[in-house]
Symmetry: C2
Subunit: 211 residues, 2 copies
């Protein structure tokens, strides 16, 4: 085992440090956030920071990088209030990564990648190829003073999903649905079949849950 | 594809909704947070909400559920200011899940599971069996008013890792290191080997990065 001090981390070359710090917090979700601007131009961007905030009410957050440059996703969410969060299929990992390129506001990632937009009842584009599409309404936009990033929280207003992978108790099988996992800044993985365990109690054995 | 409205979600049975909403935001990181109380009693708990906040300075966050009941991890972080974030090895998934049981303050998860504690220079326990252990110093503790959860952000003060899985450009191979992925509330997965892609630019082809 090797130990890196804070000074070691500070001394790392910038790109090395970005890869390093982005890797060591563990695997990450892989989602495409779909938005539309005031002129009806659609936008799609991959995010690896989507995080569960709560189930009741259903709240999902993600981290937005500092608004020091143009951020189409952020501007569109502020103006429209609604946006979609779409699971990235591992089979389309290259297109998912492509959506992170800095296209101009006139170009839609839906035209530059293989993803197809479907405008839903809330007026925002969901990704036809995704096995799960959530429509969220902006509930909170909080500046994180530590580094000027923002925590964006939305309430889930609609869920569209391929029911084939939904189990009886509400668990959705992301492996079978072919949803991607991200690590670091640029690595896309499939997940192997999972093992589910029963609710943990101090004085009881943990059992595996089978479907 | 099936559509669930907000009313459908509200009408779900509580446990079904918890499984459902916890699943649909995608795969999650699997980390054990190690702390110690003022009497020197260690604590360990699995978290699936650890999220990258920034690389420079190195900042990592996680979501803490509402402090309506005793939360040893939270109390210990507030009093000590330091804590560890340790990658959960997939080979120890059952022990990881076991750490989520509500043990009393007198019982340490390090005694109730197969994980071994090593008190580091910051006075907090890291997990000997983890391929990555981060020591964080509390930087920010923010209430999320939408549902009374908290976003806890720490600055990474030290990284201890098995160097065998660190690549030349700072990328850490979590698959080779055997780090777990979580889905839903209780499902533990291994990840398959990943594909890394070059930095995406609008006018260029994306290439695969090989080690």
């Amino acid at each position: 085992m090797r130990i890196y001090s804070f000074a070691d981390i500070e001394g790392m070359e910038k790109r090395f440090r970005a890869n390093f710090i982005n890797s060591i917090s563990g695997f990450k979700s892989a989602n495409l956030i779909g938005t539309v601007d005031e002129n009806g131009r659609t936008n799609l961007a991959v995010f690896s920071s989507v995080v569960h905030i709560g189930a009741n009410p259903p709240l999902i957050g993600f981290i937005m990088r500092p608004i020091s440059v143009q951020r189409h996703t952020y501007e569109n969410i502020l103006s429209k209030k609604f946006y979609t969060i779409n699971a990235l299929p591992i089979a389309m990992k290259r297109d998912g990564h492509k959506s992170s390129a800095k296209f101009s506001a006139e170009e839609s990632e839906f035209d530059k990648t293989a993803f197809s937009a479907e405008l839903n009842d809330f007026g925002v584009p969901s990704v036809v190829e995704s096995p799960i599409s959530l429509t969220c309404r902006l509930r909170s936009d909080q500046l994180l003073e530590v580094n000027q990033t923002r925590l964006i929280i939305g309430e889930v207003k609609e869920v569209k999903l391929n029911e084939a992978f939904l189990q009886k108790d509400g668990f959705y099988d992301l492996t079978e649905a072919g949803v991607a996992v991200i690590s670091g800044m640029d690595s896309y993985h499939a997940a192997e079949d999972g093992t589910r365990f029963s609710y943990a109690r101090p004085d009881r054995e943990i059992n595996e849950i089978s479907e």
